[in-house]
Amino acid sequence: MVLNIGPQHPSTHGVLRLKVVTDGEIVSDITPIIGYLHRCFEKHCENSTYEQVIPYTDRCDYIASMNNNFGYVVAMEELMEIKVPERVEYIRVIMAELNRIASHLLALGTYGLDVGAFTPFLYMFRDRERILDIFELTCGARLLYNYMWVGGVSHDLPVGFVETVYNFLDYFEPKVQEYNDILTFNKIFIERTADVGVLLPEVAISFGVSGPNLRGSGVKWDIRKDEPYSIYERFDFDVPVGQGLVGTMGDCWDRFYVRVLEMIESTKILRQALKDIPANGDVHQALPKKIRPPKGSIYRRTESPRGDLGYYIISDGSPQPYRLKMRSPAFTALSVLNEISRGWMLSDVIAVLGSLDIVLGEIDR
């Protein structure tokens, strides 16, 4: 029987249609059909100037838009060889890590929903709201910020920002233990996710999967550590890797638990960054008046909560990018869905789709 888990479905994390061929409950083939949310991001970028592209990068992966900005801005600064003041680097790392925690909270919460647990979703969203309040404090917006510019940031940190983030961190760390109590080590949750959708490391690499999905399969690859950009080499944090505590290595539970551990790592980075952020320094100092990068091309990857977020920018000296390609991690994660959920039951397809943590805005661009 061909079943359409259609574009309008409670658990497809966006506008995605899965054509599922099933006999009885067992799924034999899945073809994801995407493109419902295609907003011609790359065509828009070719007709807008370099600073106008930033609000568009926000809207690709709308759950982690700080990291999208960060990726674009790091690529541009390397193309134009701009050196950004210390304070801006620290502000950017703080914002990116806060956004990573917020994005992981959303991923874990909606995954609880896919598996049927309502309450953890609301606990995690309550904590995510606190991070959004911090963002609203800094740049006024809660979800799509247009905060990081090429060469600096739009606003300096507000008065009392560091204390607010410290309060949040003290509030947040015990909460992670609460999520573990109610969801991670819940036997029904383990039953639903252990040994389901096992992703082997070689399959993951050849499918270009990256980020928590790849680390869940045991491959220790994190761009913040292996190809350090900005000032990530100053912070010591370790890269959590799936060990198969419950089921085999690389199953849904591992991907879930890697995200939980990654949130704790992000709090470690935040504490170190907050400790030695330089107090003074004008954030607008390195902002170029007119962004006209020299002719040439660059491909730069950064670590977004979903994986390797790559920007391939080709500039021909004019204020508008000649060609801008965004390599989206969720795009590759979705391509592996068919490979790992063949032969499982219908409710497992939903569980595997949730564990891959895809965002359709980024897949369709």
Partner: protein, 235 residues
């Protein structure tokens, strides 16, 4: 413009170059002051260009490989390996330090070789970018390869004609190639031979034209719906 104004600007610009800006600022007439400033900026830019020239060559190695001690040699090494294995595929003159230019002909075997050769071990295809090099010039596909074990990356570019662009598909070498190539086909119309089911991935299947080409015009209506939505009372 009177000559004393000109010579006033001249000496104001020299003084400003040595550092004291007030010579330019206290010219009371607005017009000459703005001209002086413009002249000053032009002078500064020439100065900057001459100084920047010598430093730009050595910094432009492949950005993602600064972890390798000898950045320049990686591309040469890989290009050398390819040239030795598949003579005649690498055209030297157009591959610069950051990328390797290849002929589309034997690209599939080169890709296979790049993945399996112990020296390269490029096991992950990071990104496939289609590029339209200009109104009437060719199209180009750029592959960014990365090796998880050696932790090094390289960029390979393949040009193909504009009228019927053909590039061999590497979908069987790296599985993600399947979707990347479908997207490049969807946006540029580059045929990837040997691809399992080459059809549009993002746009609806019966969409005419290749959107990201430079000479692309949006079709008027799609199934009767006017494509460029114009709001009334706005223009």
């Amino acid at each position: 413009m009177t000559d004393n104004q000109e010579q006033l600007i001249q000496e104001a610009v020299e003084k400003a170059l040595q550092g004291d800006m007030d010579a330019v600022n206290n010219i009371e007439d607005r017009v000459t002051r703005s001209k002086a400033k413009a002249a000053l900026v032009k002078a500064k830019r020439e100065a900057a260009k001459t100084s920047a020239e010598p430093s730009s060559e050595d910094k432009s190695e492949e950005s993602a490989t600064e972890s390798k001690p000898a950045p320049l040699s990686l591309n040469q090494k890989i290009a050398g390996i390819i040239a030795s294995q598949f003579p005649g595929t690498v055209d030297e003159e157009s591959s610069s330090e950051t990328h390797i230019q290849l002929q589309p002909a034997k690209w599939f075997d080169v890709a296979q070789y790049l993945r399996d050769d112990p020296a390269c071990l490029f096991d992950s295809l990071q990104c496939v970018t289609g590029v339209d090099l200009g109104e009437e010039s060719e199209l180009e596909v750029r592959y960014n390869l990365h090796s998880m074990t050696h932790r090094h990356a390289v960029e390979i570019r393949i040009e193909c004609a504009r009228n019927n662009p053909k590039v061999p598909s590497v979908e069987t070498v790296w599985h993600i190639g399947d979707w990347f190539e479908r997207e490049t086909y969807d946006m540029f119309g580059i045929e990837f031979e040997g691809h399992r089911d080459l059809r549009r991935i993002l746009l609806p299947d019966d969409w005419e034209g290749w959107p990201l080409r430079k000479d692309y015009e949006v079709q008027e209506t799609y199934h009767g719906i006017v494509v460029p939505k114009v709001k009334e009372g706005w223009e």
